[in-house]
């Protein structure tokens, strides 16, 4: 079964109602207009009706087809607005999951600090309102779940500005597509992940298990946990595959050619180099790659942990 668009959230009712209302009005207008055109073209063809009338207008008719559309569109507006207001008013008891987006990854942060990346997707309990503040680290993305009829742009904001948000309440168990709907460069079409809707008990079990693993990993290998949660794996692999950026495997200690300020130079990868690569990605560009890596906010400790892990991957 295709689960991409089947109604699956509390918004479907109002959105789909508006949709069908407009659809019915449209079909009515279109059939009327087209029908009348075809009828006239046949009935009043040059052959069938060689002498045209000199009809210039009809005030009554003009009024009718000004007033009726006005009334119809006001209905359309009203129902559209009702549905919209519902989407903008988050229920008090909603559970918060923070959404971060960047080129070209998603990250979902749960209230207990658990983080999920693009490959893992967003897991939520059914029949629970979920409130999602939306952050972007670089350009505008758009958080879109067709089956839930929700969409909101993920806009990078100045310090202190209001963040965008959206919310939904899934009403069906299953996995649904989550797209990025605002053009954000090269891999815009790959910025896709899934929303997994679980029953409440299943969700609780999932959460406990994940959190345990997460906490364990964080304690044992903070670097790997960070690389996973910050979304580095969207562009870097740990098994030698070349993605958007170079693989982390065997990186440490390697000699390679980088372009700095337009000049090529050869370097050996060490702690200091890794540090600048991560803090100021646009300074040294590895030859053969595009300057696409975004600067990510990391504390010095976090960077050290990441570097430790990259070193481990090369041992």
């Amino acid at each position: 079964m295709n689960v991409n668009y089947n109604p699956a959230s509390v918004f479907n009712q109002s959105v789909d109602f508006s949709f069908y209302l407009i659809f019915m009005i449209s079909i009515l207008c279109l059939v009327g207009i087209t029908g009348f055109m075809i009828f006239s073209v046949i009935k009043y063809s040059r052959k069938n009706n060689p002498t045209p009338s000199n009809l210039e207008g009809h005030t009554g008719l003009e009024i009718v087809w000004t007033v009726i559309p006005t009334i119809l569109v006001m209905f359309i507006f009203y129902f559209g607005m009702q549905g919209f207001l519902k989407m903008r008013n988050v229920p008090e008891d909603a559970m918060e999951i923070r959404v971060d987006a960047g080129m070209w990854w998603w990250k979902f942060t749960y209230p207990n600090g658990l983080e999920q990346n693009t490959a893992q997707g967003l897991t939520v309990p059914a029949d629970t309102p979920i409130y999602l503040p939306l952050h972007s680290v670089d350009v505008i993305h758009s958080f879109y779940i067709p089956a839930f009829r929700v969409k909101m742009d993920v806009v990078p904001k100045a310090v202190g500005a209001d963040d965008n948000y959206t919310w939904f309440e899934a009403s069906q168990i299953g996995s649904f597509d989550l797209f990025c709907a605002e053009y954000c460069g090269l891999n815009h079409a790959q910025m896709i992940t899934k929303v997994h809707v679980l029953t409440k008990p299943d969700y609780q079990a999932w959460l406990d298990e994940q959190s345990a693993g997460f906490i364990k990993q964080q304690a044992e290998n903070p670097g790997k946990a960070l690389i996973t949660s910050k979304g580095c794996f969207a562009c870097h692999s740990s098994d030698g595959t070349k993605l958007i950026g170079p693989s982390f495997k065997g990186l440490y200690g390697k000699t390679e050619v980088v372009v700095t300020n337009g000049e090529e130079r050869e370097i050996t990868i060490d702690d200091a180099y890794l540090k600048t690569s991560i803090m100021e990605p646009s300074k040294d560009i590895v030859k053969g790659y595009q300057p696409l890596m975004p600067p990510l906010p990391l504390t010095p400790e976090e960077i050290n942990a990441i570097i430790d892990h990259i070193r481990e991957l090369s041992e």
């Binding site: 207009i33 210039e56 079409a189």
Partner: protein
């Protein structure tokens, strides 16, 4: 009635210095020659954009997982940007006013030329300069921002660079768009003054033909909206070169503000595209029904109210950007008010058919197809104007289908109809009716086969500007249908272009003044028109679409037209 073929604008010239060859065109201030030059330039650029669209459709034939890749993602990104920049800034916005507005408007109001013929030529040069600059920009790397140039992406992107970062092709393209804007503005000013100052004796405002009305309304939008986008695009250029953060949040700017400024122009621009075509339809339908247009005054006023109201609803493109809820509701409310004058026009056109004497010339076929396609386009606009449904449909293929229905099924179909209508008058040549109708058939069917599936795709959640898409039966089938449609469509386009080129080169010569028996003024001058349009000053006594009076004049021999209708 036949005209003496001796001195048409095609063999006389405005300048004593350049009397023949290329320069006699390139330096000509004659509004008719300028119109033709625009047409030639525009169609050349347009053809590039059609090819880009065609390739995009090919790319979408199969989903990603099938391994199908005609073009890599970075090319797809620049293709839809260039496709849109050419289609919008080089083709459809300057299109109707510059080609048919230039050619027909002065003839329709009995003027010898536009108010500022030299400024008119300057507009053309600006257009050509900007257009060539844009095309050179494409060759030098192009842009991959979408025609909406949304920051911060447009400020940061370096995806596309042939010469590395040294050549900033995005700033280059933005500057080209800025220059094109000035060409449009000057054309607009020219037409407004022409309409106000140069109408023939006796032609009151409500005796002007409806095409003139629509160009007049368009011109106001051009004058008042274009400068806003001009300076906004320059601000992006400045931001790319210097570290000021007008729209960059990391420097305190608000990226949404750019979208406001962009749509302040670009929403009115969609009415710049459609109004002239509406005007053409208002000419074609009464002519081919041989009866007055239904509700002349309300159509004229509707043109102006579309322009006026059209200025006030730009932010309906921004419902999902996170602007304030109040603004979203306000703009949604205002959006619906533009539907009303549009509805009035649509109903009036259909009512004109009633009790007419209809002949289905190619122009008429395109005009009727315009009504059908544009109704679908406009009605899908209702889904987008309504808040809750737009949240779902925004930035999906539904929007793409909506604007192709309006811009292409509407504006471009109207234009093609207009060209078929005025072709004999412009060149004194007749085209093949049969092949024109066959071309129409292909275009109409292909068009709907291409874009109707996209409406459904959008409803099922297919985002736009996607280089590829996830493998799902519903997506796969609809994408395939849409790609097949594009093949039929392109066959139609090629047929239509071939009909025109054939007619120009080998078509039957005609000097018939009024081949369609139209009652408006432009059909009363020679075919092709003489340099200054009218031999003597004209005086208007009747309404433009008073066919009864017109038939009387034909009988009395004071007007040109076939007697037997």
């Amino acid at each position: 009635m036949e005209s003496s073929p001796s001195q048409s604008y095609l063999n006389s010239h405005t300048s004593p210095k350049w009397t023949s060859g290329f320069m006699s065109w390139f330096m000509s201030t004659d509004h008719k020659r300028i119109g033709i030059m625009y047409a030639v330039a525009m169609f050349s650029f347009f053809f590039i954009a059609v090819c880009l669209g065609f390739v995009m459709k090919l790319q979408k034939m199969y989903p990603a997982s099938s391994g199908w890749e005609i073009i890599p993602p970075e090319l797809y990104g620049s293709f839809f940007t260039l496709h849109a920049i050419i289609m919008i800034f080089l083709f459809i916005v300057p299109g109707a006013p510059a080609v048919l507005g230039n050619f027909i408007l002065p003839l329709q109001i009995g003027a010898k030329d536009v108010a500022f013929p030299r400024v008119n030529l300057l507009s053309f040069w600006l257009y050509l300069f900007g257009a060539v600059m844009a095309v050179v920009g494409i060759l030098l790397g192009g842009a991959d921002t979408g025609w909406t140039f949304t920051p911060p992406y447009s400020i940061n992107t370096k995806t596309i660079s042939i010469f590395g970062v040294a050549f900033d092709s995005i700033s280059w393209m933005l500057t080209a768009a800025f220059i094109l804007g000035w060409g449009t503005i000057l054309t607009g000013i020219n037409f407004i003054v022409t309409v106000h100052r140069m109408r023939a004796k006796g032609m009151g405002y409500f005796k002007m033909p409806l095409f003139t009305w629509s160009i007049y309304a368009t011109s106001w939008l051009q004058v008042l909206a274009t400068p806003v986008v001009g300076i906004t695009l320059l601000m992006i250029v400045i931001e790319r070169i210097m570290p000021v953060g007008f729209f960059d949040p990391s420097k305190g700017g608000d990226p949404i503000l750019f979208q406001h400024l962009f749509w302040i122009y670009s929403h009115p621009a969609v009415y710049i595209m459609i109004l002239p075509s509406m005007g053409l339809v208002s000419e074609i339908i009464p002519t081919n029904s041989q009866k007055p247009i239904f509700g002349y005054k309300s159509i004229a006023i509707a043109s102006c109210s579309i322009a006026g109201v059209g200025y006030l609803l730009w932010a309906h493109h921004m419902f999902t950007t996170g602007m304030s809820d109040f603004a979203a509701i306000l703009f949604s409310f205002l959006t619906f008010f533009v539907a009303i004058p549009t509805a009035i026009k649509v109903f009036n056109w259909t009512a004109t058919l009633y009790k007419g004497s209809i002949s289905l010339t190619p122009a008429m076929l395109f005009a009727l197809a315009f009504i059908f396609n544009f109704s679908i386009g406009g009605l899908t606009g209702m889904f987008l104007g309504s808040l809750s449904t737009d949240i779902h449909l925004h930035d999906t293929d539904f929007v793409v289908a909506h604007f192709h229905y309006t811009m292409f099924g509407g504006a471009a179909f109207g234009l093609i109809g207009g060209v078929f209508h005025y072709f004999p008058k412009m060149f004194g040549k007749m085209y093949s009716m049969l092949w024109a109708k066959i071309g129409f058939g292909f275009m109409f069917i292909g068009f709907n086969a291409l874009y109707f599936p996209m409406l459904l795709l959008g409803y099922y959640g297919m985002p736009r500007r996607y280089h590829t898409y996830p493998d799902m039966p519903i997506f796969n089938k609809l994408q395939m249908a849409s790609t097949l449609g594009s093949w039929i469509l392109v066959t139609g386009v090629i047929l239509v272009l071939a009909v025109w080129i054939h007619a120009l080169l080998k078509g039957k010569k005609t000097t018939e003044v009024n081949p369609w028996n139209s009652s408006t003024l432009e059909w009363q001058t020679a075919t092709p028109p003489t340099l200054f349009n009218f031999e003597e000053d004209v005086e208007i006594t009747r309404d433009p679409y008073d066919y009864e009076a017109f038939r009387g004049e034909v009988k009395a021999g004071t007007a040109a037209g076939a007697n037997n209708v």
